[in-house]
């Protein structure tokens, strides 16, 4: 049974994640109005926001420790927040700043935080194999760490996912696959691209347990994930979980969703996992004042991260040549590449273009 304290923690993660996405909408649109230009403003490039996905990140990551690995797809913020990724440095990365998690090299789809073993891939399903690898390392080293790969329902038709299920199953690896089913892969509804009713059915073909959670109920996610993580930690192998979530916004910022029926958008907005959890908390005797307090704390944290990020310096152009290698070759391949001195530090002289 989930304790009220755990429910409160999940609630805090979820309102933090929701507020974060809502605030990023504002920040992203700076410099992009009235005419939307993807490369303008303080946050350029694609931005995939996860409003409506919060229950999955929070419910799963409640069971994880810093030494457990998580890989996330192109829509990673709610998962990163629940996994304990440094919110300030993550935000600085999204703003492309020097002190960002990846020194401005990765951006929002490619967040990496070794302190809590968190990594992303923007290529569909390609976070799955590295999660299997982290689980393999844990098993070989006899630790009880586990790995969790998050993916969208659109990713369940991809080789990287299916091959990973098999590899994890045949070696009994401590890994949990979490499919976030928001019914859409950009403009493609699920039933246009697969005949299975739900992604958890994929598990049967690989002889591993598959669990489907039909609503984005954080408590239900918490319970299913608790079992799966325990199973993995105890050395009993992988589990596949699919959670029904909702896409409350476009696929990415700027997506007018012309392909999506109005009723579907409304439905997604009505099913609010955060409101549902608030109800649960009230029924456990948590007062509205207490909920307000949690929300305020979450909002403050988000504001702090955003203001901190915006004060951070941009990377110097020469930094573009650093970090190609951990041990940079003494003689770089091109004039523009980084040459390294004997100590292995990257040379900052940079290129000629």
């Amino acid at each position: 049974m989930v304790s009220v304290t755990d429910l409160q923690t999940m609630y805090e993660q979820m309102v933090t994640a929701r507020h974060y996405e809502e605030r990023l909408v504002d920040e992203y649109l700076v410099g992009k109005q009235p005419a939307f230009d993807i490369s303008a403003g303080p946050i350029p490039g694609e931005l995939h926001l996860a409003a409506g996905h919060e229950a999955s990140g929070a419910g799963v990551c409640m069971h994880l420790r810093d030494d457990d690995t998580v890989t996330a797809p192109h829509r990673p913020h709610h998962i990163a927040i629940a996994k304990g990724v440094d919110l300030k440095r993550m935000t600085a990365e999204i703003f492309g700043r020097k002190t960002g998690l990846c020194r401005g090299k990765g951006g929002h789809m490619h967040l990496f935080d070794p302190d809590v073993n968190f990594a992303c891939s923007g290529i569909i399903a390609q976070g799955c194999p590295p999660a299997v690898g982290a689980a393999m390392a844990a098993k070989k080293r006899n630790t009880d760490s586990v790995a969790v790969a998050f993916l969208g329902e659109g990713a369940i038709d991809q080789g990287g996912f299916l091959e990973s299920l098999n590899l994890a199953a045949v070696h009994d690896l401590p890994v949990v696959f979490v499919v976030e089913d928001n019914d859409w892969a950009i403009s493609m509804p699920k039933d246009r691209v697969t005949d299975v009713q739900n992604g958890a059915q994929r598990a049967a073909g690989f002889d591993l347990p598959g669990v489907r959670i039909d609503s984005d109920d954080a408590t239900a996610v918490y319970e299913a994930a608790g079992e799966a993580v325990m199973r993995a930690r105890d050395g009993n192998g992988p589990t596949l979980i699919e959670v029904q979530v909702h896409r409350r916004m476009g696929h990415f910022m700027g997506d007018a969703e012309a392909y999506r029926p109005e009723a579907d958008i409304d439905r997604a907005k009505q099913r609010d996992s955060i409101e549902r959890l608030a109800e649960d908390l009230r029924s456990h005797g948590v007062t509205d004042d207490e909920l307000d307090e949690i929300r305020e704390r979450a909002h403050e944290r988000v504001e702090e991260a955003i203001s901190w990020a915006k004060e951070q310096p941009e990377p110097d152009p020469e930094e573009a040549y650093e970090n190609v290698f951990t041990n940079p070759p003494a003689q770089a391949a091109t004039d523009g590449g980084s040459a390294a001195d004997a100590s292995g530090d990257a040379d900052e002289t940079g290129g000629d273009n």
Partner: protein, 346 residues
């Protein structure tokens, strides 16, 4: 099929101005009307009309059987395009971003590109692989590459890189009618998307009728006597802008748009180099083992005695970084091109 295609060399005054995306779609629609064997498949190509507007309006005209949304299973549907092509159809399959080639490279490289040769010519693979390329909008290392060299390096595929609406249409007609696999790489920044403003160059007059542009014919965009600038894609427009700046300083640059990498129009490059003696190659792909090296090698093989100076600008062998200051540093800009030409001219 249209009975005879006119080989236009230039748009005429009566032509409408189209964006590159509109021009590309117009050619696809024409071919689909003329030939029932042509169909289009990819992710988000039906209702969405292609993330980069490569298929706008096609679903309405041709329906879901011929404009197919497919699962995010690039290996399966690109490989299926190979099979359908070998069965005699003329599929067009879209890889949303060229960066995603990795998950399906075997179908591209071992089947699409090689089956003609490995079957001793008994099979052909008349398909088009369309794909969006390029950076400049801060989408980072997995969504910003061009990978021109990667595709041109592997034998068996024709590789096309339009830089204007006029070329986009003519090259698309040629690509669909070609009996070989053609990789059609369109630069996102040139498509004329409302949300990713293009430079002014790619929007050109485009004839209403169908026309083909033969592969292997580079386009001399601007004749000049002092320095040859060979480039492709987005950088054609950056080079043209640089040439205007240089013109003010009395430096006369010749700008060559390769238009196709396979086959490659070596003659046009050599003719130019024989005249100017100075060669700059500009590419938005990685520098080493790529387009810049290939062009310079061909110039050296064919016109060594005429060459007095050579230079190249490309992505300096680093993955494409996200932050604006970093991406700007590694992607050759107009000023970088002008500076390199000046250096060569000295």
């Amino acid at each position: 099929m249209a009975t005879e295609s006119r080989d236009y060399t230039e748009a005429t005054e009566t032509d409408r101005e189209l964006t590159m995306s509109r021009a590309m779609v117009e050619a696809i629609a024409w071919e689909m009307r003329e030939n029932e064997e042509v169909f289009y498949m990819g992710e988000d190509v039906a209702d969405y009309g292609g993330i980069f507007s490569s298929t706008t309006g096609l679903l309405d005209e041709f329906g879901r059987d011929r404009v197919m949304d497919v699962p995010i299973s690039e290996t399966a549907y690109l490989g299926a395009a190979v099979g359908a092509a070998q069965a005699g159809m003329r599929p067009i399959a879209e890889l949303m971003f060229v960066d995603f080639f990795g998950v399906a490279m075997d179908q591209i490289y071992n089947n699409m590109a090689k089956n003609t040769y490995m079957s001793g010519g008994s099979f052909s693979v008349p398909m088009v692989l369309t794909t969006a390329v390029g950076g400049t909008y801060n989408d980072a290392g997995q969504h910003s590459q061009t990978l021109y060299g990667t595709f041109a390096h592997l034998p068996g595929m024709k590789v096309v890189v339009p830089s204007t609406a006029y070329d986009a249409k003519g090259l698309m007609h040629s690509a669909i009618r070609d009996d070989d696999p053609v990789v059609y790489m369109f630069h996102k920044r040139l498509m004329g998307l409302g949300w990713m403003p293009s430079p002014s160059g790619p929007k050109t007059g485009v004839p209403k009728d169908d026309y083909t542009i033969p592969f292997g014919e580079a386009d001399v965009k601007r004749p000049g006597d002092d320095v040859t600038v060979v480039t492709l894609g987005l950088h054609v427009h950056r080079a043209m802008e640089a040439a205007e700046q240089l013109d003010d300083d009395g430096i006369d640059a010749e700008v060559i748009d390769l238009r196709t990498l396979v086959p490659l129009d070596t003659e046009t490059v050599l003719d130019s180099v024989r005249k100017t003696g100075k060669l700059l190659v500009v590419d938005e792909d990685y520098q080493s083992f790529g387009v810049t090296g290939e062009i310079i090698a061909r110039a050296a093989e064919g016109a060594l005695d005429d060459l007095s100076a050579v230079k190249r600008l490309a992505i300096p062998d680093v993955p494409i970084p996200y932050a604006r200051s970093l991406e700007d540093e590694v992607n050759p800009g107009t000023d970088d091109i002008a500076a390199a030409v000046r250096e060569l001219h000295e």
